[in-house]
Amino acid sequence: MSLLKVLLGVVVIVAVVLLNTVVVMWCERKWAGHLQSRLGPMRTGWHGALQPFADALKLLGKEDLMPADADHVLFLVAPVLAYMPSILIYSATPWMEQFTGYSFDVGIFMVFAVAALFPVAILVAGWASHNKYSVIGGFRAAAQQISYEVPMILAVLGVIMLAGSMKLSTIVEAQASVWNIVTQPFAFMLFFIGMLAELNRTPFDMPEAESELVAGYMTEYSSMRFAMFFLAEYTNVFTWSLFATLLFFGGWGGPLPAVLGFVWLFLKTYAMVFLIIWVRWALPRLRIDQLMEFGWKVLIPAALLNVFFTAFGILTNLAVLVALQVALLAGFVWLVGRLGKQAGAGATTPAPTEVAP
């Protein structure tokens, strides 16, 4: 492999990722608008398509502030640290059969390892800002992302077992006949919840909970440094949607000829992006202790169960596997519903009672 080819690959991948980040940003604002009976960006370009560019350019032209008491080195490093893993993760990402970054044998392992760097960046940003809200945001992020990585990885374990490999392209190819979403719906559910937590999005947006922590770890960041956090977040949305597609929705597989596989890949990825956005705008946010409790007491045991049942299903046959997964999913939905009810046992919507004056 020549150096030129590597460089070309890097440029193409970075360009594709940045472009998609911008598209995801636009989708978020546009779809959020429509979900709320609004229109979303309209004026900047066709239906506001250039809005993210305008925002980014404007942020570039703004004054770069640093709080006097901040830890200068860390404060400057944090945004870079936040953006780095979001790009680095693509070194292992297969886009199509013929077009893969570097086809690691342990690709999925690499992905999670790199993704684990993001909370470090947030922690650094929160600590360096010398702001109480930032610190709280940073600690929340670290606690939350470390906790939710565990069930996420455990959920993917089932997929790995089915494919018999940790290589991402092999996992995709293994889904040629039947997608993992059919055989692993429960694992997908766990993966999706973990993903939302990884992305710091509602209902798990504690680190930046704007009504509690102003803007969390980003509170003190302005100008391009702020934009880098912002971009990193949206890149991560795209990244995890892409991985959800690769792991559970058959990647680039589809009825079109194999050369057009990327069309399928992007269609499915954006469907995932829509799902993430849809969930975000429909839900309020959890409290940090509830989030940790849910992660450790519900998700991790459930993920372990998933590993066990999947192994059992693989040893028997596919129908048993699907049946077990559906049963698990139903049980999980019931359990989560019950959790809500338990907390609300004391209160019901009061019936209007009439009391004589």
């Binding site: 900047t44 809005q51 032209g61 704007e210 960041y221």
Partner: protein, 170 residues
């Protein structure tokens, strides 16, 4: 070719791009004190939807471009307002929304009220009304964005350049 000309040729397209961006993206700070703050909230709601123009409310002053002073500022709040303004990164703009922020309004002759936010901040646009309609606030934001597109400097820059801005000294 003299240096000025060279700089101009190099900078002009960049400046044009920057002006375009500033004319299409404006993040106001969610800063409301009184009645006008409710109308400021209305501006973001579905009927008016300022996001159409790239107006997107931010909570942290660091990331905000524009401070909408929505409501009365009193002597206890004044230092905080000034602090918030100082925390914003340039270029920054100030909208005095409502009679209280413009001049103190109905409370102007009170013992605790700042008679117009232009006594503590350079104001770009004054929005009279008590409270102004959401459309009026939207109009003010659009005014600033249009001025940005045209490359007109903000009141703060005018002030640092030594020109008169805001209320003339009387």
């Amino acid at each position: 070719m003299d240096v000025d000309q060279e700089t101009k040729t190099l900078v002009a397209p960049l400046q044009f791009l920057l002006n375009w961006a500033r004319g299409h993206s404006m993040w106001p700070l969610t800063f409301g004190t009184a009645c006008c703050a409710i109308e400021m909230m209305s501006v973001g709601c579905a009927r008016y939807d300022t996001e159409r123009f790239g107006i997107f409310f931010r909570n942290s002053p660091r990331a905000a471009d524009c401070m909408i002073v929505a409501g009365t500022i009193n002597l206890k709040m004044a230092p905080r307002v000034r602090l918030l303004y100082d925390q914003m990164s340039s270029p920054k703009y100030v909208i005095a929304m409502g009679s209280c922020a413009v001049s103190g309004g109905p409370f102007a002759d009170g013992y605790n009220v700042v008679q117009g936010v232009d006594e503590i901040l350079p104001v770009d646009v004054y929005v009279p009304g008590c409270p102004p309609r959401p459309e009026a606030l939207m109009n003010a934001l659009l005014m600033i964005m249009e001025r940005n597109s045209a490359g007109i400097a903000s009141a703060a820059e005018h002030q640092t350049a030594g020109q008169s801005a805001g209320r003339p000294a009387t």
